[in-house]
Amino acid sequence: MDQIQLHENLRRTMIRIAHASKSGHTHIGSCLSCIDIVAQTILFEMRRNDKFILSKGHASLALYVVLREKKRITDEMLDSYFCDGGHFGIHPPSSLPDDIPLPTGSLGHGLSFGCGVAKGFLYRRKKPLPRVFVLLSDGECNEGAVWEAAMFASHHQLNNLVALIDRNGWQAFGRTKEVLGDAAAPDKWRAFGFNTYRVNGHRISDLQAVFKNIRVNRNGKPHAVICDTVRGKGIKTLHDQLHSNYTTVDTAMLLQATGSH
């Protein structure tokens, strides 16, 4: 199976699980906008000891399906999603610290935590130096703590820290541009001392190329990869829609995503 097909399967799995949950709280729109980034990072880019932090915790379903693909969680565990007494809820748990270093959900924590982990790896002098990938949403970049963390990362020269920003242009109650402006604008991150890259967050070759650049870039700066994405990508009626994060996936949507195959 090629990687495009794999990503397609992960999308369909998420949509099936969201449909089965019968809930409007799976944040399926956000999950669909970041799944390619999560899959590329965890399944293809990370080496042993590298860490991934899903700072935009509401897109947890994307993390769960990728961790299952990586065989870090079982089908049984994933099947318990949204069930009483289950392993997984809307936001990531604190029960799997190796793969989920931080229980996120309240926005603005992941990059700071990532700074601490990246700095900790430097203190511990681990060889090869492990890297820390933090996935943020563009709306999340409203949080002041994100910029405190950005200053810290830059000042401490955390070259082993990669901020991935899922720039789907939406936040919880409006377009980012209409709420507080585009906090994922590359010039902001550049001004805070990051190596800044801009890619299509759904194009695997783009993501591969940027990671290749990052691997060889040893200029002492942290990295910010601004990934242009589409909220709801994969369910046409949800594309670039605010309500994609509040939608219960119905049978018509399920068919849109899976029916023709």
């Binding site: 610290p97 959900g105 924590h109 935590f113 601490g116 703590a145 405190e148 963390a149």
Partner: protein, 301 residues
């Protein structure tokens, strides 16, 4: 206590390379030696407490033991969510050190006072509050915090070393024996009461005086025996009524069915006026200065 802390922390940090110190841009005229000795293990995280606390949790994730320092409200009330989500839920090995419990920062005003810190921290899971009674306690507590691998909050005050003779440190300890009234104080507000007893400003042999320095804790049976005997309990704390030592003890007594005929609670009542003043001024306004405490205790005997 800041000097006592700097000294004992340095001893611990010199022995253990996993110890990291983070300050929220504070420590002028006190932490310079620490900065020199710890070199790159001393981080001035800037005026960015939200990041500092969560980054400390990240450091702990890699096996280090970060100690986070600032004025008490800035590492407690300001960052309650970071402490809850990033430290306490995981039981991360992070130590929080706040200087200025209560009205300690006096003229700096209400923004710099910590009257609700104990309540805020105690409401969180897996974390312990340490409130040293005397500067001499700080070294013991720092050693203990270092040995424990769980979250802790150290509530320092500007309390100066005392030459009173004290029993060895314990989470709860008896300072003086008496038969009429059990007095329990949280942390350094114990000191003026100790002096009152030592100076016989209250009748000799009346006050059974205890200092509590750790919460939560299993209170010692001797303390319960004392309360059963005197039937009169006074709790003194430089903290608001809600969520502090007074409520903790009252709740424990009710749970255990231990009756008291009188319960006196001396606590921080906030601000009677919008006027500024010294630490002593605020204590007087709220009835927690030495004179007011003496009057209340004498009246209740």
């Amino acid at each position: 206590m800041r000097v006592a802390f700097a000294k004992s922390f340095l001893t611990v940090a010199a022995r253990d390379p996993r110890v990291i110190f983070l300050t929220g841009d504070l420590g002028f005229n006190a932490f310079e030696p620490l900065q020199r000795r710890l070199k790159n293990r001393f981080i001035n995280a800037g005026v960015a407490e939200h990041n500092m606390v969560t980054a400390a949790a990240g450091l702990a994730y890699t096996g280090l033991q970060p100690w986070v320092y600032s004025i008490a409200p800035f590492v407690t009330i300001k960052v309650v969510e970071e402490i809850r989500n990033d430290i306490c839920l995981q039981g991360a090995n992070v130590k929080i050190v706040g200087l200025g419990g209560g009205y300690d920062y006096g003229l700096a005003g209400p923004t710099h006072h910590a009257l609700q810190d104990v309540a805020a921290i105690l409401s969180l899971p897996n974390i312990k509050v340490y409130a040293p009674g005397f500067a001499q306690d700080v070294a013991v507590i720092v050693g203990k915090m270092h040995r424990e691998k769980t979250p802790a909050y150290l509530r320092l005050t500007k309390g100066q070393p005392t030459d009173l003779r004290l029993p060895p440190y314990a989470p709860s300890r008896r300072i003086a024996k008496g038969a009429k009234m059990t007095v329990v104080a949280l942390g350094s507000i114990a000191r003026p009461i100790c002096e009152l007893v030592a100076q016989k400003a209250v009748p000799a042999g009346t006050i059974d005086l205890w200092v509590v320095s750790e919460l939560p804790q299993e209170l010692p049976p001797q303390l319960f025996r004392s309360i059963r005997q005197t039937k009169t309990l006074a709790v003194v704390e430089e903290h608001v009524k809600t969520g502090g030592l007074g409520q903790w003890i009252a709740h424990t007594l009710i749970e255990r069915g231990i009756p008291v005929s009188r319960f006196i609670h001396l606590y921080a009542k906030g601000y009677a006026t919008k006027r500024y003043g010294s630490h002593e001024f605020y204590l007087r306004q709220t009835g927690l200065d030495k004179g007011s405490i003496a009057r209340t205790l004498r009246r209740s005997l």
